[in-house]
Amino acid sequence: MNWGAALPLFVLASSLLPGLVIFFLPEERVAIRSTLNLVGAALKLVLAGVMVWGIFHGSHFETRLPLLPGLDLLLRADPLSMLFVGLSSILWLVTTVYAIGYLEGSPNRSRFFGFFSLCVTATVGVALAGNLITFLLFYELLTLATYPLIVHRGTEVARRAGRTYLIYTVAGGTLLLIGTVWLYTLAGTLEFTPRGFLSTLDGASSTALVIIFVLLIAGLGVKAALIPLHGWLPQAMVAPAPVSALLHAVAVVKAGAFGIVRVIYDVYGIQFSATLGVTLPLAIVAAVTIIYGSMRALFQDDLKRRLAFSTVSQVAYIVLGITIVGPIAAVGGLVHLVHQGVMKITLFFCAGNLAETLGIHKVSEMNGVGRRMPWTMAAFTIAAFGMIGVPPLAGFISKWYLGLGALDAGQGWVIFILAGSSLLNAGYFLPILYAAWFKTPADAWPAERSFGRRETAWALLAPPLVTAFLTLAVGLLASAPFSPLQWARFITTLEYAE
């Protein structure tokens, strides 16, 4: 058995096959469905770990299947893909536990978990894609698999959110397709190559390449929620909390951001991008997104919408880090891919707990909830401080590197953006924390469910605690060998080393 070729397929299959089976399971078979879900998630984590170990020891994992004359379906495990695969696998396992608890007793769970598994398959496919067409294929699959999850509840507002989502993502996918085909006709290949494969192209006009760049980034920017393509994200918050948590805080937006990293690093190459002059405009777009997102978040009373705008702002850090042409900033951007994921998912888990247990959807309803649900709010607090950038949490590491890298690359203005956004983060997170811990609660919670002596169900409590712990861990242990930070550093050396 050629493990090198088979392992990427197995990683995909570990969520695809359970998903397909789950579609056909009758609604009442809770135990089988949960087992399939958890086994699949655990298996994916194990296989991902095997791949990481293998890469560390110099193995190659590559699956190549003929797709079109001249183009293959290519799955390849390189350091950048493993960063995303690792993040997705760990968080999928945690979210599966959470989702099983969250959706208990609600209708159409087989359909939900079927599409949930398809989403993760698509996300891992995006991560492992070795060329732009494979990336495009899984990117569009992700759109198709997430739509049913947004409209899952079938309400009018869910359908409208789904329609908005589709308009944005189908349009974005179209732009991505045009850019990809055009690029293929110019370059003859689409394989991701460190430092890009376009710099050697002569005869291809830079104008065409710039237009293609804009098309690609616009197509990816929809999912990455860059201004002004972010409109779908706050509306998509109508989906159940596990969907908002994993997909809209982690999988979908990260797929967009990851795609932007791939295009800049492995299609154009960072040096060539700088030469073309596309990095600075994109950095400005990212900066505007950071500030705008944070400002909108200030004015949201609905908790999930506030978190959604926070996501808009935070994912732009990744793009900012990449487009500042310098290795240190790049580390900051890349590592924020992981850090933002764990922090934001914690926040969404907590928001889901508040909604499920106490019926709280708005910040104004959160007075004194810290006393009623201390563990949940503790996790929320850790994650919130991480987002603001308090050392030694995850967010601080990212911002430190971004700031340092900006100075190093001569882009001092970024410091102001970082400082401003940290202030704004504090502006919309600290009041929540203050209200939760120090204010007196209203007479009754909007819709309380009792879980006996525990504050909420185990399945709902454990995941945010795990991810909050991870937030602490990746910050404290940032200099440990396998930390996301070291991994990000490694990836950057591949791109920047002479």
Partner: protein, 486 residues
């Protein structure tokens, strides 16, 4: 290779693909009570014959067979190359699906008429794809048209009968234009055999007239804008499996003839004519898509989608490259599978609720999950999203458009895809909602739901097996010598 396998390649599979459905038609007409098993058995047998033909072609290259031992120019020759093989395979797969679907769809009274007519139609299709001379193409085209008209009229109501009548008149008009063109060609070059004509043909006013007539007649039958007016009423009012075979197969037959003539006999056709065809195709894509969005009934919507998808086929004419032709061929194949699945899904919904009003779909997603999945998967192919045959087609056509510098056709492709996305998701969205109007629900036979899903899977799988299909297409080099590769 064992002798047995080699000798299998020597059986006249091509002839059998024509004779078997004829026999099936006769026998199901003579024994109406046994019509269903006879029809199904014939369908299976045809699939085996097509597989055998494929094996023969792979082993021995393009085949030419003189019926009755009389060769051209006096006798009728049958010719099979990669292109005809792909068309035959498409017909066989779709035909098998439709046959299984029809087992559950028709009651006994209708079934006794459906099977003989369907088998005649299938015989006509197979004969058409294997014909090697332009007069035989006329005969098979007429047979095809008559059988199709009768099948449309099978539904019986005023709509179906009117649609069938209009279809018949249009079909006859188209065939007559084509026949006049055949006449002129025969007079100019003394033969109707395509291979012989291809050697002798040269540009002259008579040939120009013949070309114009034949193309017009075939465009009428392929329902290219603006000659598409007959299609929506005919395809929408027919019974669901008939709608499927009309949209998937019958309109493709006249396109196949057009393609053959274009490649073999009219290589000197001016670029202006090619651009005109492309322009009409673009109009069809946009018009069909917009009209589809306006429809309130599902089958009408799907019929307008056929108008739009047929427009894609004509975008390949101005592109004139192997990539472009391959893209058009992929549209043809994946549309056949996807449209069949869609009409089958519509048929299921009609069977279930007694109506196909889109706004009243009443949570079909819960009652008919397989059907709505089939519709969604087929929609993915129609929209051109990966992974599907439709995506491959879109990719190839886009590539050809950009490479030839005529990027505006690419814009048409993109717009067409967006329009399709709009109505696909509109229908899928309504499948989730509750209906205001209560109605009686009937249980849909499993065979009907599963065939719909399987046909949709074929549309998706077409996107994953491109190299093998392209290898088959190359047999006999039907596109050889046309334009440049890539």
């Amino acid at each position: 290779m064992p002798d047995v396998l080699l000798s299998i390649a020597d059986i006249p599979w091509g002839v059998m693909t024509i004779v078997l459905p004829l026999a099936g038609a006769m026998s199901s007409f003579l024994w109406p009570r046994r019509a269903l098993p006879l029809g199904l058995a014939t369908a299976l047998a045809i699939v085996i014959c097509v597989a055998g033909l494929g094996w023969q072609l792979v082993q021995q290259g393009a085949q030419r067979y003189a019926v009755g031992g009389w060769g051209a120019p006096l006798g009728i020759d049958l010719y099979a190359d990669g292109l005809s093989l792909l068309m035959l395979m498409m017909t066989a797969v779709v035909g098998l699906g439709i046959s299984i679907y029809s087992c559950g769809y028709f009651n006994l009274e209708r079934a006794r008429y459906f099977w003989p007519l369907w088998m005649f139609l299938w015989a006509a299709l197979n004969a058409l794809f294997l014909s090697a001379d332009i007069f035989n193409l006329y005969v098979t085209l007429e047979l095809l048209g008559l059988a199709a008209v009768a099948l449309v009229a099978l539904a019986g109501g005023a709509d179906a009968l009117t649609g069938a009548m209009r279809y018949l008149l249009v079909s006859l008009l188209g065939s007559l234009c084509y026949l006049l063109g055949v006449t002129l060609l025969y007079h100019s070059f003394g033969s109707v055999d395509i291979a012989i004509l291809a050697e002798r043909v040269e540009s002259s006013p008579t040939v120009w007239a013949a070309m114009g007539l034949m193309i017009t007649g075939l465009l009428l039958k392929t329902a290219l804008f603006p000659l598409h007016f007959w299609l929506p009423s005919a395809h929408a009012s027919a019974p669901a499996p008939v709608s499927a075979l009309l949209s998937a197969l019958v309109v493709k037959a006249s396109f196949y003839i057009l393609l053959r003539l274009w490649l073999e006999l009219f290589p000197f056709a001016s670029a202006a004519l090619a651009q005109l065809l492309g322009l009409l195709g673009a109009a069809a894509v946009l018009w069909g898509g917009l009209q589809a969005l306006r429809q309130t009934q599902l089958k009408m919507l799907i019929a307008y989608s056929t108008v739009a998808q047929l427009g894609y086929l004509f975008l390949a004419f101005p592109l004139a490259s192997i990539t472009g032709w391959t893209g058009a061929l992929y549209v043809l194949l994946s549309h056949a599978a996807a449209k069949t699945a869609m009409f089958m899904a519509a048929g299921n919904i009609l069977y279930f609720g007694g109506h196909d009003r889109i706004v009243d779909l009443d949570r079909v997603v819960q009652h008919l999950p397989l059907t709505i999945t089939a519709f969604a998967l087929a929609g993915i192919s129609i929209m051109g999203l990966p992974p599907s045959g439709g995506f491959i087609a879109k990719w190839l056509l886009l590539e050809a458009a950009i490479l030839s510098g005529q990027w505006w056709w690419g814009i048409v492709l993109i717009l067409g895809g967006l329009l399709s996305a709009a109505w696909v998701f509109k229908v899928v969205g309504y499948a989730f909602t509750r209906s205001e109007v209560p109605h009686e629900a009937r249980a849909v036979p499993a065979a009907m739901e599963w065939t719909a899903l399987l046909m949709a899977m074929v549309a998706i799988l077409l996107g994953l097996f491109v190299p093998w299909l392209l290898a088959l297409m190359e047999i006999g080099l039907p596109f050889g010598g046309v334009g440049s590769a890539g």
